[in-house]
Chain length 187, copies 2
Amino acid sequence: MSKPTTRKPRTDAERNRGRVLEVACELFAERGDEVQMAEVAKAAGVGVGTVYRHFPTRQALIEAVTEQRFAEILAYARTACLPNPDTRQALTCFLTRIGEVHDEGRGVSSAIEAALGSTEPRGEVGTDLLALGETLLDRGRADGTLRADVKVADLYMIAGAVAAISRDAIGDWRRFIDIALDGLRPR
Amino acid sequence: MSKPTTRKPRTDAERNRGRVLEVACELFAERGDEVQMAEVAKAAGVGVGTVYRHFPTRQALIEAVTEQRFAEILAYARTACLPNPDTRQALTCFLTRIGEVHDEGRGVSSAIEAALGSTEPRGEVGTDLLALGETLLDRGRADGTLRADVKVADLYMIAGAVAAISRDAIGDWRRFIDIALDGLRPR
DNA sequence: GACGGATTCGGAATCCGATTCCGCTTAGAG
DNA sequence: CTCTAAGCGGAATCGGATTCCGAATCCGTC
């Protein structure tokens, strides 16, 4: 049960997949989810069929793009948030990034927060994000910034909320971040 | 500029509009947004054209249904939440209702939270909801349950978040309500 | 109570975009 | 260099929203 599932893809096929994904990321960032499959294909210099070969569904493509966003956020969190010794600031920084991602390219948003919140994340990016969250929360619990019973699920639920709020312009998400984090402090 | 905009609608037209809206509410509640315009038409016993006459767009129909939901929530809030002397409980009750609406008939959700959060609500239902929120917040500020600087916008931002979280099953929205409300307490 | 025009209705036709299909190409193993 | 399966392109198909317009209804008028 190891051969049939693992036939190495042709080199150019892989390159095409890369092109498509890259282009899709840009387009979705620019114009949100009004982007059409045909556009992506043209912009990537391939036929629709090729797009569909690599991403069997529009939804699948969107999920792939979303994973890219996650990767970016993860990278940002590691370099910009984690090092901040003030746990509260680190968390704010992390959540703020999520809001910003939606503010600029309002990309693929609908999928983002749904995935953000799920505790069973796709791929290692998700796993790493969870781990990173756990780290931050541990720190917070240790230095008394956070309640002892705060869970990663809580953090990502809040992350999902930030995503939704910023996506739909429901309100001032920066303010929301403050409120939510206040809600995690020890009573 | 008052005549051309106000030609009274034909009686049966109004009845049809009512039927359509009613049926749409039920269908959306049952099967979420996979419901098709043609289905609504058939279920209401009219042609598609008629549906479109009253709701020029699928989106418009959804918004109308959403307003119904708001009305229900408003009614519930007035009778079940407002009377509760404990402000915190009243707020919890209100927000919980929003989560429940999504849990049962997972209706029209996408639109709901977007509208919930906007500070410029459609129709009087929206206005009344804002007013009711203001009342609750005043009470909370007065009895020291809430920070002095809490705004209605905050409450509805949280409401929007609850809607999003419950809609996409991002996490335990009941827990989220607790966290968010804790975030509104005086420091 | 019948009449006439404006308003509505019904549902076939149209439009649009996602997805499928399949003959043609090309990478790359032997 | 040859042969074959993996990939490619893009026309055709499908599904569902939206438009169009002749037929059917209302309703104020006579």
